[in-house]
Amino acid sequence: MQTVKRVISIIVQNEAQVLARVSGLFAGRGYNIESLTVAAIPGSNMSHMTIVTQGSKRVIEQIIKQLHKLIPVYKVIEHDSMVEKEMVLVKLPIDKDTNIANIQSLFEAYNGGIVNASKNVIIAMAADESMRINHCIEAAKNFKPIEIVRSGVVAMER
């Protein structure tokens, strides 16, 4: 069966064990997690989780129904039309010959820039759609990155 990629937002009670319940559900039933982000929703006792997953249509449907069954889950949104962003931090080596302006303009093209600099390294950031983050990382490889950290996706229905 054909697999599709889906971004799912889950609104949950902000309480102990809730992340374990959600991730345990994926592990126990053999569902795939590509990325997972979670943070409290300001001014409420709820948290917002964004999970990127893939599976057949039936599997995606099961994931959503099984998530609904968890007692602390308030809402599950299978995104259709959404704004999706992901962040990446890239640590790059520099010396006196490095053309920092090139790095700066690369990351600016992906809604970011240089966020930290020291004598031997700088840290650049980009915030964009997952596919564009892939492109950005690809291009950044020219600068021989020391470390790359991706955040996972956050999404919001339009």
């Binding site: 009670q13 374990a20 345990g24 126990g28 039936r58 129904k65 609904h68 602390p72 889950v73 308030y74």
Partner: protein, 564 residues
């Protein structure tokens, strides 16, 4: 009113109207047991193993329809209870299990008898709680009972650290619960129900496929009426035996791996399957691509996740089986023409005549099926039947003439050997008027044999009928069929002296080798009114038939096995 956490637990159990708690004390739960000692509400039954406590509470719930309660200590007490939780979870039994835990300050330090109970039980409970603040305890107790019994029922674990049970706090047991994230829907979508009713009127070969959900929602009466008014025949899964009543001419039989020929042909040839609280288990469907190929499917289930999980559904209806079936019936009462399905009913009757459920009786050796049939003749309607897991379980499901729901208690989903005897205790406590028969095998029974002591101590008169083939019979059957008779570790020829064993525990035992002896033993066991054990020597190599080999199509049944 300020009381201790331990008192709160007892107060809540009594407020919920619980009559019996099954359990086993230990260090971390001692404060609660001290309060149990002091109170005059519920009665505590001391089993001899925590697994048995949970099974007993489970069966109590299944027979009474109320929430069962079990209590265990931390660490090994809890881990012993896990099989019980998983059994109840798979069969959707409403259960509240309370476990002790090490004090809050010790959690995470690998303390004595510490284990991560909520972590371990997360995937085999409907919900679970670790109580970290005494002020949460009254709400959690109330929620646990509510969650256990509402929606699709299931077990709920409350793990309570020892210091919480000794702490004192204000106690007001809530009258209602408010869980904004948990709102089961019962009513069913009226538009969907209307469409389903239209589909039923259009169909030529409709079939009721009744599952355990029909028992859980107490839908038996309305389903019987539905079948009678519409003239639609029915099959009952292992979990639903008794819903239609076997004397009902519309009840075709049990479908699935060991289902009857007529039932499996009914599923295979139907053009509209009306699933009432069944979940298309792999033991029912057989090979999915061949399953019910000609049928549209109406799936009524309180758990939306069951709908569309295994098969594509044409008419999904999320709701309580009883309520939705009643609505469907109201829509059809004046429009349905039972005559329309007469050809279909006759066809199924014909199938049953061609290959009825049966067995070849013998004068030399007792056939296990004969024992079940004879049990039905001798105790029938007046019995509650529990079972362990294996061949005897299938024979009991096939040959006992069930007449009402909640008469049959077995571990259908998880298939837990050792379930039968503790379940019999719970079943007897729930309905003492009935003769309780545990149909068991020489494999399963030893997995919770210690409960003979519990039964004897408390005067719980249950009758174990053991079909003794000196084999782990169901596995032996598969070895015969599929493993060229290599009987790896299934020969149970070495056995205890069963009569002495049960009598050493305070019960009464019988060794039976002839049909006459069986009748005498059963009648005597009923008259003795104490825990009894009838060891029936049966044909060692009898097989459960028909059989759909695992992964095979439902209509390809093995109807006989000749060579031996």
């Amino acid at each position: 009113m300020k009381i201790s956490g331990a008192q709160m637990v007892c107060e809540a159990i009594n407020a919920e109207g619980v009559k019996y708690v099954f359990g086993y004390p230990g260090g971390a739960i001692m404060n609660v047991y001290d309060e149990i000692y002091k109170q005059n509400g519920f009665k505590h039954i001391l089993t001899r193993h925590e697994q048995a406590a949970v099974h007993a509470a489970d069966a109590y719930a299944r027979v009474s329809g109320e929430v069962g309660v079990a209590m265990v200590t931390s660490g090994p007490g809890f881990t012993n209870a896990v099989t019980g939780l998983a059994t109840a979870y798979t069969d959707s039994t409403p259960l509240v299990v309370i476990s002790g835990q090490v004090p809050v300050s010790l959690i995470g330090t690998d303390g004595f008898q510490e284990v991560d109970a909520v972590g371990i039980s997360r995937s085999c409970t409907k919900h679970n709680y670790l109580v970290k603040d005494i002020n949460d305890l009254p709400r959690i107790l109330k929620e646990a009972f509510y969650i256990a019994r509402s929606g699709r029922p299931g077990p709920v674990l409350i793990d309570i650290p020892k210091d919480i049970t000794s702490e004192i706090a204000e106690f007001n047991y809530p009258e209602s619960v408010d869980i904004p994230t948990y709102k089961p829907s019962y009513k069913g979508n009226n538009r969907q129900i209307k469409k389903a009713a239209e589909a039923i009127l259009e169909a030529k070969k409709p079939l009721l496929y009744i599952g355990g959900g029909a028992v859980l929602s107490n839908a038996s009466d309305v389903i019987r009426e539905f079948a009678e008014v519409t003239g639609i025949p029915a099959v009952e899964t292992l979990m639903a035996r008794g819903v239609m009543g076997d004397s009902n001419p519309l009840q075709i039989g049990m479908p699935g791996m060991h289902g009857s020929y007529a039932s499996n042909m009914a599923m295979s040839e139907s053009d509209l399957i009306i699933s009432l609280g069944a979940r298309f288990d792999d033991r029912v469907t057989g090979k999915l691509s061949e399953f019910a190929k000609y049928a549209d499917i109406i799936h009524i289930d309180i758990d939306p996740a069951n709908i569309g999980k295994i098969v594509d559904v044409d008419y999904p209806i999320v709701g309580d089986v009883k309520i939705v079936t009643q609505k469907l019936l109201d829509k059809l009462r004046d429009t349905v023409k039972p005559k329309r399905y007469e050809v279909w009913r006759d066809l199924l009757k014909r199938y049953d005549e061609i290959h009825p459920l049966g067995f070849e009786d013998s004068d030399e050796v007792i056939k296990p099926q004969w024992v079940i049939k004879r049990l039905g003749e001798l105790v029938g309607e007046n019995a509650t039947v529990t079972s362990d897991v294996g061949q005897h379980q299938m024979w009991a499901a096939q040959f006992f003439p069930f007449s009402r729901p909640r008469q049959w208690v077995n571990s259908g989903g998880l298939g837990t050997m050792g379930f039968g005897l503790p379940a019999a205790l719970g079943a007897k406590m729930a309905n003492p008027e009935k003769t309780v028969i545990n149909v068991t095998g020489d494999g399963s029974i030893l997995m919770n044999i210690q409960e003979l002591v519990t039964a004897a101590e408390n005067g719980i008169a249950v009758i174990n009928v053991m079909l003794n083939n000196h084999f782990l019979g169901m596995v032996r059957q598969w070895q015969t069929f599929f493993y060229e008779k290599r009987y790896a570790e299934t020969d149970l020829s070495y056995q205890p002296n069963w009569k002495m064993l049960v009598e050493a525990c305070g019960g009464v035992g019988y060794d039976v080798t002839t049909k006459e002896e069986f009748d005498v033993a059963l009648k005597d066991a009923i008259a003795q009114n104490k825990v009894a054990f009838i060891n029936v020597a049966v044909d060692r190599f009898e097989n459960v038939l028909p059989m759909v080999p695992a992964g095979g199509a439902l209509f390809n049944m093995m109807l006989e096995y000749k060579e031996r």
